[in-house]
């Protein structure tokens, strides 16, 4: 083994720095700069003028003249150009895209009648299905073939072929015709109806039109059956789906009959329809007109109402009033109401401009209202054991829908008239409810006081008042009543709400009114309401069934109260939170509060009210973490808590801040990211103290920063992630050193070195197992750089920490076939070289580094040199081993890096060293693994260096460094 004395060359850092500093060129601001952002000027107002010209208007990009990027973009970046374009053109595009030019006019006309703001049936559908459910058993009674519209004459000899096949079809169905399905659960029922829907489509596709019609008739007949009345609205939804399908099938069929030679335009008239299509259409109407029972006849005719367009212009206009009148023949008020709803629905869809029959429908409905309390209804309810209030709510979807159709873009006087009519009916609660739900919120809000009066006048018996107030509250949440009335409204409403007995009804109603209160009132009123809710929901743990409503209360409050000091000064807010006793819900609520806090709390705070409350909330979140908590969940909770911690600041009161951190550490000990944040906070605190004291601590502050260091020191070991521990030790050590806490810094660094062996060889990064080597290398390099300024401990030997680190590196079980250890050695050489200098390249103010401690003591220098020698020896050994194996590429790279180090830090005047450098150069080029460009650059650098004073010896070395041409 070659014994080699490494000598570091003396450095004058100051002079080197001077040399390296480039000529100072004055940069004129406002001039061209490659990184200067492209100025995007908003061209919304201008884009019309620049149509088609791509180059002419480059001046539009105001003050950025020659920027190549911006001139290419013509001053406007494409994104804002699109934005500007779409802002003005979207409506036009959306309209023309759908229907081409032909349909356009009609479309526009239709849009006048029904716009996007009309809440479509489809959105009500799901709501109804979810709301009206039952556990009772249902039955479907399909009586196929029972009604023969036209009784075929017996033995008529000359029925045409077509008629005969149809009759046969009919007979087929009649076999086993009456199918009664009993004991169906609600889900079974829905499935059966869906099956029928499918078989309708199948029958249609296989040209069995008669069968299709029969299915539809039978289905609509089911609607006259009001047994299991709670389910009726849902049944209506399911069955009208079938009717819609049927109506569409018929319409499409007739439409397609006219598509020869070209399809009918959207806006076709009767004249465009050919005779065959008309005849087919007429046939359908005749067939339907002969359906025996009233209800199927009504429904099926309503379903194909649209087909009237094929026959004559005024068909729909005449049919709607007729069907409306026919509904009067339906005895059961519920069935009639839903039939009206269906008719209105079809009417609005097919002929939105025909409002008269809508109104007529409603007036007829009012006319038959007395039936609801009538004898036969009462009997039925008694039989089914349904309470009157529940029965009345069954009406609300139908009536609401009808009213919505009427109220849509209706003139004010019409609405007023409707209201008057309702009043005349003795303020029927059911009606009132629907009126409030269907009419524009603004309309309702303007008359809120009137409505309250009307609600009060209603008789309590039928329809529960809290529902009425709920509907009113919903309107008031969207529209504001006159300012002067607001308080009265709230008082009146709450007077009733607070009397509601059932907690469920109460909370449903209260939840709605919270929004109104938050919108218009201060924390006092909201607090009162919270208190009231708590009072109602606490007995019998009623809150357990109302978590979703209570959550929504919180959500609403958070939408309106962003000032957390106000929020938490509501006495009842935290007690309200205490009602969330189910863990998952409570955490969710806390989380939503935290999210709002992080989003809206912009200033640092030290408000004890906020801190207490937030700590409580964060603690709740923290305490929900257990072994089963998912990693993502933990992370997001930790982020929220960190967000809070960052908002806490006690200003100059550092001690209190520290004690807050202590408290926080105790509270959030299960979430590592929070602990990490706390350590950072404390370190920051120490540095802040240093800044305030301008670097020289008083006795008091010195004690304080030591306390900070102590905090970090005892917190770090509780972290499980080894790398956060390592980096935090290092960081805290740096902070301690900066604050002149030498022994603390020593302790940190020692701790870091002592846990090095624990670093596992692979760690999991984003769920994947990765080698930890690169992390470890990064850390050691970082650590070495730090060690330069750390003064040696008087009681330990020279370079105690460096040795310690290197020993650890040596003992660490590196991966097989890894150069990592040697790489550490290579990077330790510059440190040692730097330590040998008279003045160090950097130092910590007010801390004496080794340079001062030893003052260039030759013993110290020889210690360093010895260490270097050992390291180089180790490295060369390793290079030899690599040469033996197949590691020539690695050998080359390693040799080159050692060469680099020697060149930069070694004193090459020493012949041995320069010989070693040359050897290393040759070794690295031996196998041609070296990047030639790097070699050339290095060579150039060495030549350049050689021209510097004191470096002339390098020119000899250069002579011996040969470039290998690639072969």
């Amino acid at each position: 083994m070659q014994s080699l004395q490494m000598r570091s060359r003396g450095r004058n850092y100051e002079a080197e720095l001077q040399r390296c500093r480039p000529e100072v060129a004055l940069v004129e601001f406002g001039d061209y700069h490659p990184l200067k952002p492209i100025m995007v000027t908003d061209t919304k107002t201008r884009h019309g003028a620049r149509k088609g010209s791509t180059s002419s208007s480059s001046s539009s990009s105001s003050s950025v003249p020659p920027d190549p990027l911006s001139s290419m973009l013509d001053g406007t970046d494409p994104l804002s150009m699109f934005a500007a374009a779409s802002a003005s053109e979207t409506p036009a595009i959306s309209r023309s895209a759908s229907a081409g030019d032909l349909g356009r006019k009609r479309k526009e006309k239709e849009e006048e009648a029904v716009g996007a703001d009309f809440e479509p049936w489809s959105s009500k559908r799901g709501e109804i299905l979810a709301r009206f459910t039952t556990t009772e058993k249902l039955s479907i009674n399909l009586f196929m073939g029972s009604d023969r519209g036209k009784a075929p004459s017996p033995g008529s000899s000359a029925v045409s072929e077509k008629v005969r096949t149809r009759l046969e079809e009919l007979d087929d169905l009649e076999e086993g015709s009456q199918r009664e399905l009993l004991n169906l659960s609600q889900q079974d029922y829905a499935n059966r109806i869906e099956e029928l829907n499918q078989s309708l489509k199948e029958a249609w596709a296989s040209d069995q039109k008669v069968k299709a019609l029969k299915i539809v008739i039978q289905c609509s007949k089911l609607l006259s059956d009001t047994s299991v009345i709670q389910f009726y609205p849902s049944k209506f939804v399911l069955i009208t789906d079938i009717l819609d399908t049927f109506g569409q099938l018929v319409y499409d069929r007739i439409w397609s009959m006219c598509s020869d030679p070209r399809p009918l335009p959207d806006s076709f008239t009767v004249d465009d329809v050919n005779d065959t299509a008309k005849e087919t259409c007429l046939n359908w109407f005749f067939k339907i007109a002969s359906i025996r029972e009233l209800l199927p006849r009504l429904y099926v005719e309503a379903a194909i109402l649209k087909c009237n367009r094929f026959l004559n212009k005024s068909g729909i206009q005449e049919t709607l009033p007729r069907l409306t009148a026919m509904i009067k023949g339906i005895g059961d008020p519920l069935v009639a109401a839903y039939t009206r709803a269906y008719l209105c629905r079809v009417g609005v869809e097919v002929a939105p401009h025909l409002k008269d029959s809508l109104n007529q429908n409603f007036f007829d409905l009012l006319g038959t209202f007395r039936q609801i309390g009538g004898e036969s209804v009462r009997k039925q309810l008694a039989l089914q054991r349904v309470e009157a209030p529940e029965y009345l709510t069954l009406y609300s979807p139908a009536i609401s829908w009808i009213l919505q159709c009427i109220a849509y873009r209706a003139p004010e006087p019409l609405l007023t008239e409707m209201m008057e009519r309702c009043k005349k009916l003795g303020n029927n609660a059911l009606l009132l409810n629907s009126v409030m739900r269907a009419f524009r919120p603004e309309f309702v809000a303007d008359r809120a006081t009137d409505f309250i009066g009307m609600i009060k006048d209603c008789d309590e018996a039928g329809f529960p008042k809290h529902l009425l107030f709920g509907s009113l509250g919903r309107s008031l949440a969207c529209a504001d009543p006159p300012e002067s009335e607001r308080l009265t409204i709230l008082n009146e409403a709450w007077k009733v709400i607070t009397k509601v007995r059932s907690p469920r009804d109460y909370v449903n109603c209260a939840e709605i009114w919270v929004e109104f209160t938050c919108r218009h009132f201060t924390k006092r009123e909201v607090n009162t309401i919270l208190a009231d809710i708590i009072k109602h929901m606490t007995p019998d743990r009623a809150f357990e069934d109302a978590y979703s409503q209570l959550q929504s209360v919180i959500r609403k409050i958070l939408t309106y109260f962003h000032d957390f000091s106000v929020l938490f000064s509501m006495e009842r807010f935290l007690p309200f939170l205490d009602m969330f006793q189910k863990d998952s819900v409570r955490v969710e609520v806390c989380r939503s509060i935290m999210e709002i806090f992080i989003k809206h709390q912009l200033d640092l705070t030290r408000d004890p009210v906020i801190l207490n409350a937030m700590l409580h909330i964060c603690k709740t979140m923290h305490d929900s973490v257990n072994a089963l908590t998912l990693e993502d969940e933990r992370r997001s909770l930790a982020l929220l808590i960190i967000g809070f911690i960052r908002m806490v600041s006690f200003g100059r009161d550092f001690e209190q801040q520290l004690s807050f951190c202590v408290e926080a550490r105790a509270t959030f000990c299960n979430l590592e990211p929070v602990l990490v944040q706390l350590i950072h906070t404390v370190n920051q605190l120490a540095m802040e103290t240093r800044r305030v004291m301008r670097g020289s601590h008083s006795r008091k502050t010195a004690a304080f920063v030591r306390a900070c260091a102590a905090y970090s020191f005892i917190t770090i070991p509780s972290l499980s992630s080894i790398f956060s521990r390592l980096s935090l030790y290092l960081l805290s050590g740096q902070v301690a050193l900066a604050n002149q806490c030498l022994s603390q810094a020593d302790a940190f660094l020692k701790a870091a070195v002592s846990i090095l062996p624990e670093v596992p060889r692979s760690i999991s990064v984003e769920g994947k197992l990765r080698s930890s080597e690169s992390f470890l290398l990064d850390f050691t390099n970082n650590f070495l750089a730090m060690l330069l300024v750390v003064p040696d401990h008087p009681e330990h030997g020279v370079l105690y920490l460096v040795r310690g680190l290197l020993n650890m590196v040596q003992d660490y079980t590196w991966e097989d076939n890894s150069d990592a250890k040697v790489r550490v050695y290579v990077s330790a050489l510059p440190l040692l070289a730097a330590m040998g200098q008279e003045t160090y390249v950097y130092s910590v103010p007010k801390v004496d580094s080794n340079e001062t401690l030893y003052g260039g003591d030759p013993k110290f220098l020889s210690e360093i040199n010895k260490l270097c020698e050992t390291l180089i020896g180790q490295i060369l050994d390793h290079l030899k081993v690599l040469g033996r194996d197949e590691g020539t590429r690695r050998q080359g790279a390693l040799a080159f890096s050692l060469f680099g180090v020697l060149l930069a830090h070694g004193d090459l005047r020493n012949n041995k060293l320069s010989q070693l450098a040359v050897n290393l150069w040759n070794l690295s080029h031996k196998h041609g693994h070296c990047e030639p460009r790097v070699s050339v650059r290095t060579l150039e650098f060495v030549k350049h260096q050689a021209q510097q004073p004191d470096m002339s010896h390098l020119s000899d070395t250069v002579q011996r460094l040969t470039l290998q041409s690639r072969t």
Binding site: P154, S157, A158, S160, S290, K328, G329, S376
Partner: protein, 297 residues
Amino acid sequence: MSVTLDIRLKRANKVYREGEAVAGVIVLACKEPLQHHGISLSMEGVVNLQLSSKSVGVFEAFYNSVKPIQLISSNIEVAKAGKIPGGKTEIPFEFPLHTKGNKVLYETYHGVFVNIQYSLRCDMRRSLLAKDLSRNCEFIVHCQPQKAKVAPTPVNFTITPDTLENTRERSLLPKFLIRGHLDATHCVISQPLTGEVVLENSDVPIKSIELQLVRVETCGCAEGYARDATEIQNIQIAEGDVCHGLSIPIYMVFPRLFTCPTLETTNFKVEFEVNVVIVLHDDHLITENFPLKLCRV
């Protein structure tokens, strides 16, 4: 080898009036050329009379009178014996609808005991080995509009327990009052029957209100006749216990083919009636009968 024979009328609705020409095409579709012994087309209009079973015994003596009455008949040769080329062949034809002598073309009517039908029949005779082909096609005749136009006169009615005939125990009847009117009993066949009915009051709930359309067919001659009333259709206009005092519309479309303008000839009569039927909850039936006179304008 398959061949299909079809008759297609020009008018999609197949409705013709006297004096018009029934026009259309005979469509022959076959894959290969086809040998035949001639194709003929005939038009026929017949009244079929049938006796109801209950009156058969009595009327056997008048057997003659139930022979079909021919209204119109003509025959043309479409093609002489020869060959049709393969593919689709369309042969147009046209029959004028003219009666011989003073016969009248009655309107098409499908009833129980009286049937008035018009049809086209196309026959293709073929060699002994192959079956003859024939095809029937019914077309519909509407009679000439009747000139006499009558202004519609509403018919009012009131039904109470007292107005009822044919009751056994008048005293057991519940009290009720039903008012209403038909807009006309002299109806245009293409227009619906309209009117309204109001249940003013009733002690018992009602179950249903229905309109029953009835045909009254009379067959016979001077020697005697059989008169039978049968239901054509029954349309429900009210279901369940309807609201009292509310006017419920009466609306019924006259079905095609099964109704025709009221007809009176020497051999048979076809008349129509409508019954307003009120079904009480205990299935009591209350019926009010209105004879109708249908016409075409």
